[in-house]
Amino acid sequence: MTVEILFPEVCSLYGDLMNIEYLVRSCPEIQVVRTSLKETPAFVTRDDVSLIYMGTMTERAQELVIAALLPHKGRIMQLILDGTPFLITGNALEIFGKYIECDDGSKIDCLGIFGTYAVRRMMQRYNSLYIGKFGEIDIVGFKSQFTHSYGDAEPLFETVRGDGLHPGTMAEGVRRNNFMATYVIGPLLILNPDLTVYILDLIGAKGCRPAYEEAAYDVFRTRLREFSDPNRGFTY
C-alpha cells in the first residue's frame, strides 16, 4: 500500500500530517511518498497509489498548490471516478472547488472539480467544535478556519452538532466515491479511531487496528461525551 502526501512542505498546518503517520503506526506496511510542489505527483505516473492525502495550508500556499495540481486536473477526475481514495482535510478541501472569494471580492480559480466555492474573511476566523456522523461512525473534531464553503456537493459527514460547510448547513465536507474532503481537523484520524479503521480497510489494510487503540478510544469517547454536553459552548 502506498500513501501519497501532497506537498507536505506547505500542507502541514495544525498537525494534519500526523493523520498519515497514524495510518503508518497502525499499519507499518504502508509506504509513504511525499511529493513536493516542484515534483510530478506519484498519482500521475503510477497506478498503485492507495490513498492521496493533502492537509491544511496557508492562503498563499493554496495558490501554489492550485498551480501545481491544475496540469493534473484530468487525471485527478479520472482517479475520483475510478474510486481511488483521497483524504483531504482543512482548507485543502477548497482546492477542488470552483473558486475562493477573497476579502476584496477577487476570486482565485481552483480546480473546479466540484460545485463548491469558498468565501474567505481573514479577520473573521471561525472556530468550533464538531460532532458528525459518517454512516454509523461518530465523528468528533475541530474547525478553525478563515473560510466557509458553499454550493452543491455530496457531503462527507452529516453534522450532529456544529456547522457543516458553512453556518446553517448540516452538510459537512465533500464526497464522491472514495474522495473524502472535510474542514474537520484534530488531526481527524487520531481523534477518530473508527474512521481510521474505515480508511485502513479502504486502502487494503484489512484487519489492522488503530495504533495505541485503548488510549485512542479513551480519548475519542471522552471527547464525544464532552462535546455532547448541551451546556458546553460550541462555536467560539
Binding site: 472556530n127 475541530f142 484534530g186
Partner: protein, 458 residues
C-alpha cells in the same frame, strides 16, 4: 466634540483607578477599556511619549519587554510601560492614561510597550513607535492567530511607515514584514549544536519566499530559525547588523558585535531562546546609541521573570516550574527542549491545559501534533504525570512519541498529580504549566515542595 468626549473618557478612566485600588483590582485593563468604550478613538487623542518602543512577536516579547525596562531602570531613566497590564489596545491605553496629565498630555518622553502582534490593527494606527523590536513570528494559538503568515500580513498592513524595525535575521517570516520600512537585523552566528536539517515538527519556512523552491539551510537551530538560501534563485537570509557569537556557557557570557565594536555580556539565562532575546535587546539599545561598555553593565540587571521559569531547591530535589504557553506548540516545544537538555534525572508533570477554554467549550488540541512531545522520550526523563482536563490527550500524544505507557501516570486532577508524582532525592521535578494555570501551579508547587521536604528529611 471629539476632544470633549476624549476628556470625559480620560477623566472617567482616571477616576476609576483609585476605585480599583480600593477594591484591590490593580493591574487590570479596566481604565483603558472604559476609555475606549466611552471614546472609541481614545488612542488617537491621548498624549503619547515622543519615543515609543514596541516589542512584538510570537514568543519572548514579555521577556524582552521586561529586559528593556530593566535596562532603562538600571540606566536611571524612568519610562512608561505596560508591564502591569496587558499588551492589547486597552492595556496600552491604560498605560497611556497613567502616563498622562489631567488634560491628556504625556508626562513621559519614552514608553516601552509590549504589543500583541494580532492587535497591531487596533494600536499602530495611533500609537506610532519609533522602534519596533520583533522577536520572531511562529505558530501560536490556532484559533486566534491561524498561522504566522497571517500575522505577518497584519503587521505589514499596520506598521507605521516611519517605524524602524529591529528584526531577527534568523527568522525569515519576521524578515518578510513591512518590506518598505527602514530596518536592522540581529541574529546568532553558527553554533556547534546547529544542524542543516530540521528535526522539529514545525518548520514554516521550507520553501523560498521568492520562487517556492526548496530552501537549504547553512545552519538551522530549531524550527525555521537559522540561515537559509535558495539554490534555484539565489535568495538568502539577510546579513546581521548585530550578531551574538562566542557563547561561553561555562563563563556565562555571549559576545554581541556590530560594525562599531563589541561587548561581552553576562548571560541572563542560558537557553538559546533567551540569548536571542538578549541580542535583540542589545540591538535596540545600540540603535539608540548606548555604548557596549554601559550596556554590558546594565544588561546585568535584566531578568527573566519568575512566572516564566523558576527553580527551587529543596534538599537534594530541584523543583522547576516552566511556563509552556498553552496551545502554543512552538513555545511548548522550546520548553521541552530546554528541560530535556538539563543534566540529571527528571520527573515531569504536564499541566499546560487551556483552562479558560475548558470553562466555555473545549481546548482545541491540534497543537499537540505540531509540538515535539518526542523530546520527552528521553532516557533522563522518568515518570511523566499528565494532568488537567486534557490529561488523556497528553497520554495518547506521549504514546505517539514513543513514551512507554508504564512511564505515564494519567491523573486529570492536577493536585492529585502533585500528590502522586514519584520522585526522590537527586531528582529534578519539572512542572510544565500555562498562563491559565498560574494559580493551580502555585498549589501544585506547594504540595510538591512539602513532599520534597519530607523525602529529604527521611
Amino acid at each position: 466634540m471629539g476632544k470633549l468626549r476624549f476628556l470625559a473618557a480620560l477623566w472617567a478612566a482616571k477616576l476609576s483607578r483609585p476605585v480599583l485600588k480600593l477594591t484591590r483590582h490593580n493591574g487590570t485593563n479596566f481604565p483603558g477599556e472604559l476609555a475606549i468604550k466611552l471614546c472609541p478613538d481614545f488612542l488617537k487623542y491621548i498624549g503619547k511619549p515622543e519615543t515609543i518602543i514596541s516589542v512584538t512577536g510570537t514568543n519572548g516579547k514579555t521577556t524582552v519587554n521586561n529586559m528593556v525596562c530593566d535596562i532603562f531602570e538600571a540606566a536611571g531613566k524612568t519610562v512608561l510601560d505596560n508591564r502591569a497590564g496587558s499588551n492589547i489596545n486597552s492595556g496600552i491605553a491604560t498605560s497611556l492614561i497613567v502616563g498622562a496629565t489631567l488634560f491628556g498630555r504625556a508626562k513621559y518622553d519614552t514608553a516601552v510597550f509590549e504589543t500583541d502582534e494580532r492587535s497591531a490593527l487596533r494600536i499602530y494606527p495611533w500609537v506610532r513607535p519609533k522602534y519596533i523590536l520583533m522577536t520572531n513570528l511562529f505558530r501560536d494559538s490556532i484559533m486566534r492567530n491561524g498561522h504566522p503568515e497571517f500575522i505577518a500580513d497584519i503587521l505589514t498592513a499596520y506598521i507605521p511607515k516611519e517605524s524602524k524595525l529591529i528584526l531577527n535575521a534568523d527568522d525569515l517570516i519576521s524578515c518578510s514584514v513591512a518590506p518598505d520600512n527602514d530596518r536592522v537585523y540581529y541574529g546568532i552566528e553558527k553554533l556547534d549544536s546547529d544542524r542543516t536539517e530540521c528535526i522539529n515538527l514545525i518548520n514554516d519556512m521550507r520553501i523560498c519566499p521568492k520562487c517556492a523552491g526548496k530552501l537549504e539551510y547553512d545552519y538551522l537551530r530549531y524550527h525555521h530559525i537559522g540561515r537559509a538560501r535558495c539554490s534555484a534563485c539565489g535568495f538568502t537570509s539577510p546579513p546581521y547588523d548585530y550578531s551574538g557569537r562566542e557563547i561561553d556557557y561555562a563563563a556565562g557570557t555571549v559576545t554581541i558585535a556590530d560594525k562599531a565594536g563589541s561587548g561581552v555580556y553576562a548571560l541572563v539565562n542560558d537557553s538559546i531562546f533567551n540569548i536571542y532575546n538578549m541580542v535583540a535587546v542589545a540591538a535596540l539599545f545600540r540603535e539608540m546609541g548606548m555604548p557596549h561598555e554601559k550596556l554590558t553593565e546594565y544588561m546585568k540587571h535584566a531578568k527573566v521573570v519568575e512566572t516564566r521559569y523558576r527553580e527551587l531547591d529543596v534538599g537534594k530535589i530541584r523543583i522547576i516550574t516552566q511556563l509552556a504557553k498553552e496551545k502554543n506548540a512552538l513555545a511548548i516545544t522550546r520548553a521541552f527542549d530546554y528541560i530535556r537538555g538539563l543534566p540529571g534525572p527528571k520527573k515531569v508533570l504536564l499541566m499546560m491545559n487551556c483552562l479558560n477554554d475548558e470553562k466555555h467549550w473545549s481546548e482545541n488540541t491540534c497543537w499537540m501534533y505540531d509540538c515535539d512531545f518526542e523530546f520527552l522520550n528521553d532516557p533522563q526523563i522518568g515518570q511523566i504525570v499528565v494532568s488537567g482536563p486534557r490529561a488523556r490527550d497528553y497520554r495518547l500524544r506521549l504514546l505517539f512519541a514513543g513514551v512507554p505507557d508504564s512511564r505515564i501516570l494519567c491523573l486529570p486532577d492536577e493536585l492529585e498529580g502533585a500528590r502522586q508524582i514519584d520522585f526522590s532525592p537527586g531528582d529534578m521535578v519539572c512542572i510544565f504549566h500555562g498562563v491559565d494555570s498560574f494559580a493551580v501551579t502555585q498549589k501544585v508547587l506547594e504540595i510538591i515542595s512539602r513532599r520534597a521536604e519530607e523525602a529529604c528529611a527521611e
